[in-house]
Structures are given as structure tokens and as C-alpha cells.
Symmetry: C2
């Protein structure tokens, strides 16, 4: 994968808003890990809605990375945006009511009452060119 | 997103082998970050081929997380596998020749002469059920 060009912060945020799914990188038991999560933007922050019992709900003020990308296998191109921010669990009742409204109730079944905000403290992104699909097979066959 | 069930280590490795793209989480300038990367499996390790000049090439013995997933918007289900391992840049000439062979030359244009191995020291995975696509719009419209 090669980088075509960096994205501006404005482009990064516009692209973030187009996707429902990102990958959250954080530390769990002193080891790095990554989880795919649904998210939405609210008041300029990333908001992740999750279960109270999972590992993401144990984050309280850690600095995390949140990556969103879209990579098109048909055109071999895509983009990747990375947000770095210090998480803030949402505990204020007014905020919880706002985030739990119908616009933000699309989540999978099961208890999903924990909200985590990730302020967009640092954002960066890049346009990418992917490896050619099928090239492994083609090269091996030649 | 909710977890349907954990995957066995064997299932995790079998699923890893089906995808060309993963997300590498590591520290850069003391902050977490994530990069989408092409990869392949070789002798049971994850192998990432990258440029000598990028941030991934500066990894020498860090513990990283490498996440691979496949999430089908049509069925609203998917899986995610996370490998944790201590990276090993490939410097042995015999290894470099093996990894640079035609089976592993499918990469994008540009210099891509740095190989990074990530041993599968710890692997875990889960079957997932996604949020319903379009539910945000549906709920907002109702």
C-alpha cells in the first residue's frame, strides 16, 4: 500500500462522517489491541456506543487511536483517517439523553448503554493506493 | 456491534489467511496509531511489506496489535481477529529472498523493500453482529 497524498484535517473529518464503522486501538491489560466499532459524530467528537461490560467500557481517560478507512477493491484506491484523542466516558444525564435519541439508536441487540466520546484532538489521513488484487495469483502462475 | 461468540485460535488463523488487508496498531512518537496494510502469512507469521522510509519501518521490537476483519453489510455479520506480537524486521538475506519471491511481489508501485514479521504470539477473535445498516436514517425519519 502506498500513500498518494496526505488529507487535510477538513477532508479527514468529512470522510469520517461517511462511514459507520471504525477500528479503535487501545491498551488492554498493558497490551495493544484493536476492536471494530460502530460510531457516529456528535458535536465534533467521535462517539462510540458499547456495552457496559466490555473492555471498551473500562476506558476512562486513556489516549486512543481511532482509524476509519474505505478501500475500494475495484479501483485499488482508498483513504485512511486516524484520530488520536483522550477518551471521555459520557456520564452527564443531559448528554446521555441527547446521544440516546432516535438518531443514535441503530445499534445491535443487547445492552448498549455505555457511551464513549473521543475528541478529535489530532487527526491525520492519507489517500492510498492498494496492491493490485489478484497479483499474488498472477505472479505465482507465471 | 455485539459479540456472537469467540473464535478458536485455529479459526482465527484460518480466517486471517482469507484477507489481504489488516490494520496495524502501534506507537508513533509515544502516541497510538493505526495503519491499514497489506499482509500475507509466511511460516505462521504475519508478514507486512512496506517502504523503508515510513513509520512502520521504524518498528524494531515493539509489541503491536494487528487486526483483520471481514464485515458483510448484506448480512450484518462478520468477524474480527486480533494478533498481538513482538515485531521482527527481516534482515536475514535468505529470508528476504524467500519473502521477495514472485508469490509475494504483488505490491503497489514505489519502493517496498522493508519486511516486518509479526509472530502470532497471542491471537483472539470473535464473531460479530453489526448494527443494522440504514437504521440511523430509518429512526431519524420515523
Amino acid at each position: 500500500m502506498s500513500e498518494i497524498r496526505p488529507l487535510t484535517p477538513r477532508e479527514c473529518v468529512e470522510l469520517l462522517a461517511t462511514q459507520p464503522l471504525g477500528r479503535l486501538a487501545f491498551s488492554e491489560n498493558a497490551l495493544p489491541t484493536v476492536r471494530p466499532v460502530n460510531f457516529f459524530l456528535h458535536d465534533g467528537d467521535i462517539v462510540v456506543r458499547t456495552s457496559r461490560s466490555g473492555s471498551i467500557a473500562r476506558l476512562t481517560k486513556e489516549v486512543v487511536a481511532f482509524e476509519v478507512d474505505s478501500i475500494d477493491p475495484a479501483t485499488h484506491t482508498g483513504w485512511s483517517v486516524v484520530v488520536i484523542g483522550k477518551v471521555k466516558p459520557v456520564t452527564d444525564v443531559t448528554d446521555l439523553v441527547a446521544l440516546s435519541g432516535p438518531r443514535h439508536r441503530p445499534w445491535a441487540d443487547g445492552e448498549r448503554s455505555h457511551f464513549l466520546r473521543i475528541p478529535i484532538d489530532i487527526v491525520s489521513g492519507r489517500l492510498l493506493r492498494l496492491a493490485e488484487p489478484g497479483a499474488v495469483t498472477d505472479a505465482a502462475a507465471s
